[in-house]
C-alpha cells in the first residue's frame, strides 16, 4: 500500500473500522518511519494475510464486522508468527485478560501514549523471525 521497496516483513498492518482513528494511527506509525498497511475492514485484512507475510498487526477490539479478539483467533491459525497488538476504546479488564491469555504482545487503551505505543510496535517487529 505504501512503500513498494519495503518487503512485507517490514510492514506493520493496522485494522480499525473507525476511519479517522485508522488514519491517525497510520500517520503516527509513518511519522516514526515505519511502513504501514491500513485496513478498514477485518475481512480485507484476513484475505491479505493469506497471501502476505505479516510480522505485526495492530487490531481494534470493538469492530462491527468482527471483534479484534475473534480476528486474533482466526489469525493464530492462518499466521501463527504474526505478533498482535490490541487497541481498545473501552476500559475493559475482561477483554484485556482474554487478549493477554491468547498471547497478544501488547494491549493499549485509547487514547494511548505515543512513545510507549511506538516502542511496543518496534519491539514486536524485532521479535518477528526474519525469513
Amino acid at each position: 500500500m505504501t512503500s513498494g521497496e519495503k518487503s512485507d516483513a517490514e510492514i506493520v498492518c493496522l485494522v480499525d473500522d473507525d476511519l479517522s482513528v485508522l488514519k491517525s494511527i497510520e500517520r503516527l506509525l509513518k511519522s516514526d518511519g515505519l511502513s504501514v498497511r491500513a485496513f478498514n475492514k477485518p475481512k480485507e485484512f484476513l484475505s491479505h494475510v493469506q497471501t502476505h507475510t505479516v510480522p505485526v498487526v495492530i487490531l481494534d477490539i470493538w469492530m462491527e464486522e468482527m471483534s479484534g479478539l475473534e480476528l486474533q483467533a482466526r489469525l493464530s491459525g492462518l499466521s501463527p508468527d504474526t505478533r498482535v497488538i490490541i487497541i481498545t476504546g473501552r476500559d475493559d479488564p475482561g477483554a484485556k485478560l482474554t487478549a493477554l491469555q491468547k498471547g497478544v504482545t501488547a494491549f493499549f487503551t485509547k487514547p494511548f501514549d505515543d512513545d510507549q505505543f511506538l516502542k511496543a510496535v518496534r519491539s514486536a517487529l524485532a521479535m518477528h523471525p526474519t525469513e
Binding site: S20, R27, S31, S67, G89, R90, D92, P111
Partner: protein, 559 residues
C-alpha cells in the same frame, strides 16, 4: 298598619273609598310589601265595608295539607292560635272544608253545623255564629288559602257580602301567589348562589347589542372589578392574559356569530399583577326571531387545580430528568468510547505531526490534511458532548418534530453500541420501511428506547453470551400508527400481571429506582400513544408501544 287604618275606618258611605282601598292594597302588592301586612289591610278594608262583620284569611301551606294564619286582626287571639296549623279536610270548619272541597262553604249556624263540631266551643267563646268561607285560587286554579266572613247572628251571606268576598279572594290570590313566586325565586337564587359560591363560580351576562354586561359579586371579585364599575365585554376581555386574549376574542366572536357555545381556558391578569387560571363557559340566548339577545355564562376559578397540575408536571419532569441522568450512568462505556475515538485520533495526529516536524521532512499537503482531520475530530467530540448534554439537560424546549422511528432506533442503538458489545449482547433490528412518521419530542423518544434497551440488556444478562439476544422491530398499523417492539430473551415479566412493571417503584433489579418504565409510559401517553408489556410465548419479555402517525404525509421515506 297606619295606612290600613286610614282606609279602614268608617268608609262605607260611598264606593269611592272602597276602590281607593283596593288600589292601595294592590300598590302594596306591587311594592312587594310583606304578605301579612297586605292581608291584614285587606281584611280591615273588608270589615270596614259592613257593620259587625269580622273577616279572616288563612294561607294553605306549601304541603297543601295544613293552614297557616294569614290575617285576622279582629278575631280573638285564642281563636287565631287554635286555627293556625290545623289541617284541611271534609269536616274541618268552614275554612278547612272550603279549601279541601275547593268551593265556598256557607255555615249559617256554627252551633249546629256538623262541620264545626271540633270548633264549636271556640266559636261560643268568641261569640261567632255564622261563618262563610271561600277558597282563594291561584291563576292556575290551585288553592292558596281561604277568605272567611263571620257574623254574630246565624244567617247566610247577602249579595253585597258575596261581592265583597269575590273582591277579597281575588286580591288575596294575587298577593299570595306573587309572594309564593318570589319565595320560589329567592330559594332558587339562594340555591344557585350557594352552589356558585361553593364551586367558585362566577356568573355573567354580556349584552353585545347594548355593549353592557352584568357579573355576579363573586365574578367581580374573581375578575378584580369594583362592585359599582359599569361592565362591558371589552372590560371583561381586558382581564384576559395578553397571550390568550386574541384567542378568547376569536372564540367569543365565533360563538356570537353561530349563536353557539363559548368555551375557553385561559389566564386572567388582575390589577396588581395577580394571575388566575379560569375555565369560561357560555352560551348565546336568542329571541324568537333568532336575534342574539345575550351571552350568558359562568367562569370557574381553576387556579388551585392548575397549580397542582403544574407542580405535578414539574415533578414529572424532575423524575424524567433523573431517569435520563441514570441512563447516562448506565451508558458510560458507550459514552467513553464515543469520546475516546475522536480524542485518540486527535492525539495520534498531533503526535504524528510533531514527529514529522522533528524529522524535518513533512509534506505540507500531509500536514494540512492532518490538521483538517484534527479539526474534524474535535467537532466530532463536540457532537458527542452535545448529544450527552441534550439527553441530560432539563427539558427547556420540548418541541415535537416529525420523526421516523426507524432512524431514531438506529441513532439510539449507535449511542449504546459499546454497552451492547461490552455486555456481549446482540441487538437485531427488523424495520418496517413503510413505517408512518410520527410527531414527537426526539429526546423523549430516545429516552423511551434507551430505557427499554437497557432493561432488555439487564434481562438477558443472566443468560450465556450466545443467547443474549434482543430484537427491536417496527411495523405500521394500517398506516395509522407506528409500532415499536423491544423483545428480549430473558426471564420474562411477572406472570400474573405483566403490566405491573409500569407501576411506580416496581423493580426487579438491584440498581435503579423503579421509575424508568413509569416515565416511559408517561412519555408515550403524552404523545397520544400506548405501551404494553407481555411475556413472549417462547420466553422473554416483549414491550411494544405505538404512536399515532402524523396527519398529512404519513408514509416515511425508507429508513
Amino acid at each position: 298598619m297606619s295606612q290600613a287604618n286610614k282606609v279602614a275606618k268608617g268608609q262605607r258611605e260611598t264606593e269611592e273609598p272602597f276602590y281607593a282601598g283596593q288600589t292601595w292594597i294592590l300598590e302594596m302588592v306591587a311594592a312587594n310589601a310583606p304578605l301579612p301586612e297586605i292581608l291584614t289591610n285587606l281584611v280591615l278594608l273588608m270589615e270596614a265595608q259592613e257593620e259587625g262583620m269580622l273577616c279572616s284569611i288563612l294561607v294553605l301551606g306549601s304541603d297543601g295539607m295544613r293552614v297557616r294564619h294569614g290575617a285576622a286582626p279582629s278575631l280573638p287571639e285564642a281563636y287565631v292560635k287554635a286555627v293556625n296549623g290545623a289541617s284541611i279536610g271534609p269536616r274541618n270548619g268552614s275554612c278547612g272544608t272550603a279549601m279541601f272541597l275547593k268551593r265556598p262553604v256557607v255555615v249559617t249556624d256554627v252551633l249546629t253545623d256538623p262541620l264545626w263540631a271540633d270548633y264549636r266551643h271556640l266559636a261560643e267563646i268568641c261569640g261567632l255564629r255564622a261563618c262563610w268561607s271561600t277558597p282563594i285560587f291561584s291563576a292556575q286554579g290551585d288553592v292558596l288559602g281561604s277568605f272567611a266572613m263571620y257574623r254574630q247572628e246565624p244567617r247566610g251571606p247577602n249579595a253585597e257580602e258575596t261581592h265583597l268576598t269575590q273582591v277579597a279572594t281575588h286580591i288575596a290570590g294575587i298577593a299570595i301567589e306573587r309572594q309564593r313566586v318570589q319565595e320560589t325565586l329567592r330559594e332558587r337564587d339562594a340555591r344557585i348562589n350557594l352552589a356558585a359560591e361553593s364551586a367558585d363560580l362566577a356568573f355573567w351576562v354580556i349584552y353585545p347589542e347594548q355593549n353592557t354586561a352584568w357579573m355576579s359579586d363573586k365574578g367581580r371579585v374573581m375578575y378584580g372589578f369594583d362592585s359599582n364599575l359599569p361592565l362591558n365585554r371589552d372590560r371583561i376581555c381586558a382581564r384576559v392574559h395578553p397571550d390568550e386574549r386574541a384567542a378568547v376574542h376569536a372564540a367569543f366572536d365565533r360563538a356570537c356569530a353561530s349563536h353557539g357555545l363559548f368555551e375557553s381556558e385561559h389566564r386572567l391578569v388582575l390589577p396588581y399583577g395577580k394571575t388566575r387560571w379560569v375555565i369560561v363557559r357560555g352560551r348565546c340566548l336568542v329571541d324568537e326571531h333568532g336575534h342574539l339577545l345575550e351571552l350568558i355564562g359562568v367562569t370557574i376559578d381553576v387556579s388551585a387545580q392548575k397549580q397542582a397540575e403544574l407542580q405535578l408536571q414539574i415533578q414529572r419532569e424532575e423524575m424524567s430528568h433523573l431517569n435520563r441522568v441514570a441512563l447516562m450512568g448506565e451508558m458510560t462505556a458507550s459514552v467513553a468510547h464515543e469520546l475516546n475515538q475522536p480524542l485518540t485520533a486527535i492525539a495520534n495526529n498531533a503526535s504524528a505531526a510533531r514527529r514529522f516536524l522533528e524529522r524535518g521532512n513533512i509534506d505540507p499537503k500531509l500536514l494540512q490534511q492532518l490538521l483538517q482531520d484534527m479539526v474534524a475530530d474535535s467537532q466530532r467530540a463536540g457532537e458527542v458532548i452535545r448529544g450527552i448534554r441534550a439527553l441530560v439537560q432539563k427539558d427547556k424546549t420540548v418541541v415535537r418534530t416529525v420523526l421516523n422511528l426507524n432512524s431514531v432506533i438506529a441513532d439510539t442503538l449507535r449511542l449504546v453500541s459499546s454497552d451492547i458489545a461490552l455486555r456481549e449482547s446482540v441487538v437485531v433490528t427488523e424495520m418496517d420501511h413503510s413505517l408512518p412518521q410520527v410527531e414527537a419530542v426526539p429526546v423523549q423518544i430516545q429516552q423511551v428506547l434507551l430505557n427499554l434497551i437497557m432493561n432488555a440488556l439487564d434481562a438477558v444478562e443472566a443468560r450465556p453470551p450466545a443467547e443474549r439476544r434482543i430484537i427491536i422491530s417496527t411495523r405500521s398499523l394500517n398506516g395509522e400508527s407506528a409500532e415499536v417492539s423491544v423483545r428480549d430473551f430473558g426471564i420474562g415479566l411477572p406472570k400474573d400481571r405483566p403490566d405491573k412493571v409500569f407501576d411506580h417503584f416496581f423493580s426487579t433489579k438491584q440498581t435503579g429506582m423503579g421509575m424508568g418504565l413509569t416515565i416511559v409510559r408517561s412519555i408515550i401517553e403524552t404523545h397520544g400513544g400506548k405501551i404494553s408489556a407481555e411475556n413472549a410465548p417462547d420466553g422473554g419479555a416483549r414491550f411494544f408501544f405505538h404512536l399515532p402517525a402524523t396527519r398529512g404525509d404519513s408514509k416515511s421515506q425508507a429508513a
